[in-house]
């Protein structure tokens, strides 16, 4: 994330911070554990760590800690808890649901200094990594081994593997390979009482309850991941990337259902609509037709004959559903450009409006066409602009509402549209979130999908991990503590994303 001028000046002020004795007992105890250099109590750090990649505003960080080892994380947690103070784990802060946004000055436990790749075992296809390792850095580190880490969120240049574990992240290639949970073999966790446990096992299932599975996706409310054993996936021998373009969004959506119904599971199936195409083509030079209502990116991988047959079948299916052209990338360069457009879609929206609100819901994929047309209606009725770029193969919608927050009344309309999209998705047999999580943003929608008894059962899981209720409280479940001063929408975050 790029640091804004304001933050930089605040950080500058930090440098000449007081050197006098520490008066706050909590700060004193944390400094005892980490030393002065890795405990920040100044306003600069507090402001920097008060928001994440979501549009949530008004978070209030307390003391910010930068531990470098499991023992230090455990000590930070024990100190916080002994002072009765909540703590919030934080990776890179790219989360889109406010999961890392602090409420009421908790101790922030930032994992970015725990960025060591401890071990890569090529033969057993696993690696132990620190939670602060950046997703793409692991893949780069693995180049030449014939293996990779499959979860590939679009934020992979910045987000941490600890954050991926905590949000159970997805990415375009999770259609075939599964989301983060399928790639986490074991995880070392500092539980909210300071106890260190290893959940899961390097090979196969550990005995007893799947505590690893329960922990993944816990959004920082179940403890802090301090070392992660990830499964490494074989690089496919053959990869083909196809670009299909349509003059109706429905054509692309129907192609997706038909491909899956035909028993083909591509590695990725991504749709981008016309507004996205117009925004990204000028710098991706991917050759997306500017007059298309939608393009569908299909990636097929595996052994050569299987890939070749699937290409032919997809060509037939796409054409039957109105594809105007079906282009197979001729070389690596063309493939890269097709993906560059997809992965930079968020960056491109700045061209249109200064602010964005990105939603994330999942619907049954057979209802894509119908739900998408409802989404466009909801947006039109409220005189807003939406860009759709999403993981169509999983039915995972990402309507991106772009706006200018300075326009009076626009915020209310954006908020209303977001809620309506969630409602439409749930009514269509879908769920609130496919990969960004609930955090603060969707807490109030939980009862749309779950009954009080369902939520009570989830709370039982949470309470077993966090008896005192001090691990990232106020997140996920509506019954939890509230976070009064936080507003759900504000200006888009500083940084490169917009």
């Amino acid at each position: 994330m790029v640091i804004s001028p304001l933050t930089r000046s605040l950080l500058g002020r930090l440098a000449v911070r007081r050197v006098d004795p520490i008066t706050d007992p909590l700060e004193r105890d944390l400094v005892e554990v980490l030393g002065r250099g890795r405990v920040e109590a100044g306003i600069g750090a507090q402001s920097l760590y008060s928001h994440d990649g979501s549009v949530t505003r008004g978070g209030r960080a307390g003391i910010v800690c930068f531990p470098e080892s499991t023992a230090e994380v455990a000590a930070c947690v024990s100190v916080s808890v002994s002072h009765g103070r909540p703590f919030v784990p934080r990776g890179a802060g790219t989360g889109l649901s406010g999961g890392a946004v602090p409420c009421d000055e908790p101790v922030m436990v930032v994992t970015t200094r725990m960025d060591v790749i401890h071990e890569v075992d090529v033969e057993r296809r696993l690696a132990w990594v620190g939670p602060g390792v950046v997703n793409l850095d692991l893949s780069r580190h693995l180049e030449g081994t014939g293996l990779h880490f499959a979860p590939d969120p679009s934020s992979q240049q910045a987000c941490t593997i600890g954050g991926n574990v905590a949000t159970n992240s997805g990415g375009p290639h999770c259609l075939l390979y599964g989301v983060t949970s399928a790639h986490v073999l074991a995880v070392e966790v500092v539980l909210p009482d300071g106890e260190v446990v290893i959940l899961g096992a390097e090979e196969g299932r550990a005995a007893g309850y799947d505590l690893r599975g329960a922990f993944v996706g816990g959004e920082g409310t179940l403890g802090i991941a301090t070392r992660i054993c990830v499964r490494l996936t074989e690089d496919p021998p053959e990869v083909a990337t196809l670009l299909l373009d349509f003059d109706r969004v429905a054509g692309a959506a129907d192609t997706v259902s038909a491909v899956i119904a035909a028993g083909i599971v591509p590695a990725a199936l991504e749709i981008m609509d016309q507004r996205v195409i117009e925004a990204v083509e000028p710098f991706a030079h991917a050759g997306y037709p500017l007059d298309a209502a939608a393009v569908l990116i299909v990636e097929l991988d595996g052994l050569p004959a299987g890939v070749a047959t699937a290409i032919d079948r997809i060509e037939v299916i796409g054409t039957a559903h109105g594809a105007r052209t079906v282009r197979v990338a001729a070389d690596e360069d063309e493939r890269t450009r097709i993906w560059k457009g997809r992965k930079s879609a968020f960056g491109a929206i700045a061209v249109i409006k200064p602010d964005y609100y990105l939603n994330d819901t999942v619907i049954p994929r057979t209802r894509l066409t119908e739900v998408l047309s409802r989404v466009y209606e909801v947006i039109e009725e409220r005189d807003l602009i939406v860009m759709n770029v999403f993981h169509a193969g999983d039915g995972n919608l990402h309507p991106l509402i772009v706006f200018d927050a300075r326009e009076p009344g626009v915020m209310e309309r954006v908020l209303e549209a977001g809620e309506e999209i969630v409602r439409i998705s749930v009514e269509a047999g879908g769920v609130l979130s496919g990969e960004h999580g609930i955090g603060l943003e969707k807490k109030r929608f939980m009862s749309m999908q779950f009954s009080p008894a369902d939520l009570e059962a989830q709370d039982r899981l949470r309470r077993a991990f966090d008896v005192e209720g001090l691990a990232n409280p106020a997140k996920v479940l509506p019954s939890g503590a509230s976070c009064g001063h936080v507003t759900s929408l504000g200006r888009a975050p500083d940084g490169t994303w917009v």
């Binding site: 033969e123 296809r125 159970n168 997805g170 999770c174 989301v179 949970s181 399928a182 539980l191 446990v197 290893i198 959940l199 090979e203 196969g204 299932r205 550990a206 005995a207 007893g208 309850y209 799947d210 505590l211 599975g213 329960a214 993944v216 996706g217 816990g218 074989e234 259902s257 899956i260 119904a261 028993g263 083909i264 595996g302 052994l303 004959a305 299987g306 999942v362 049954p364 994929r365 057979t366 999983d394 039915g395 995972n396 879908g430 769920v431 609130l432 979130s433 496919g434 609930i438 009954s451 008894a453 369902d454 009570e456 059962a457 989830q458 899981l461 077993a464 991990f465 008896v467 996920v476």
Partner: protein
């Protein structure tokens, strides 16, 4: 589900019996005399190949589900002895033999309609193939031996059946096999021989067969567990057969009790206390004695 909920009720101890094929795993329910024994709902509600999901009563047998799914060109990552039920397979939670292609059993359960120890019905997870809404109760339930809640109806992730497949056996060590093949469905190692399952398109499977033949492999039948053997989670014991990468071991008789740290055990106990403080559900069973 309503009838199942009523049967569970809110008082007295109760256990669910599936096919009884792994009844001894995790110890038999205690209070033997007064435990009410019930069965889970039967039947397949719907199969949706375009969603890659199936809705099924958890008392349905794995075999019945497999044959119904195959008519739609789909399959599911569950297996087990003849007579095993969907609910039983999920609650025991062993990875399928063809894990390399089918995936892990942990990833198969999308939604579970349950009855809790307080007699209330609740739903874990959701119907879609991708979902991170709230806490992941589904993964917690798989392998829980019915000690946290009783599962009546489930939505499972399915996969398209492979176009072709073959079993091969040979003496090359697994390292060489893994080098030679792309994502084999199964690699079994008994200390001398590798038994391998390859799957994919007809032409690719034919290529991989040729590649294995060059390593001295010959065609084999699907391996069946000898009488008195079972599949366990663990590492390679003397005289057992290990399924590479899945943590499953095939061997006669039980394997030793797993080592569990004090912290993990305490967390597990807190979970059980939170879900079933009075130990109404499958009393006496202990998922930590899975392999004992």
């Amino acid at each position: 589900m309503a009838a199942f909920r009523d049967e569970v009720g809110d008082a007295g101890t109760v256990c669910v019996r599936g096919g009884g094929t792994r009844w001894l795993v995790g110890a038999v329910p205690s209070h033997a005399g007064d435990v009410r024994q019930i069965s889970a709902p039967l039947g397949i509600e719907s199969i949706e190949p375009a969603e890659m999901t199936v809705v099924v009563g958890s008392g349905t047998t794995v075999a019945d589900l497999a044959s119904a799914l195959s008519e739609h060109g789909q399959e599911v990552a569950l297996d087990g002895p003849v007579g095993a039920t969907v609910g039983g397979a999920l609650m025991v939670g062993r990875n399928p033999l063809r894990r390399g292609r089918l995936g892990e059993i942990a990833d198969v359960l999308l939604q579970a309609d349950c009855v809790g120890a307080d007699g209330q019905a609740f739903t874990a997870g959701g119907p879609t193939v991708k979902n991170v809404t709230g806490f992941d109760l589904c993964r917690l339930l798989v392998g829980s031996l019915g000690t946290l809640a009783l599962v009546g109806r489930v939505i499972l992730r399915t996969r398209p059946l492979p176009e072709a497949g073959a079993w091969m056996v040979g003496e090359a060590p697994t390292g060489i096999v893994m080098e030679a093949l792309y994502r084999p469905a199964t690699v079994l190692w008994d200390g001398v021989r590798s038994t391998v399952r390859i799957e994919g398109s007809c032409a690719d499977v034919a290529d991989e067969i040729r590649c294995l033949e060059a390593l001295g492999f010959t065609a084999a039948d699907e391996p069946v567990l000898p009488a008195g053997w079972d599949r366990w989670s663990g590492t390679l014991p003397e005289g057992g057969v290990r399924a590479l990468g899945s943590g499953v071991v095939h061997k006669p008789g039980p394997v030793g009790a797993p080592e569990v740290s004090v912290g993990v055990r305490a967390l597990a106990d807190r979970l059980r206390d939170a879900f079933d403080p009075l130990r109404r559900l499958n009393p006496g069973r202990d998922p930590y004695r899975m392999t004992a």
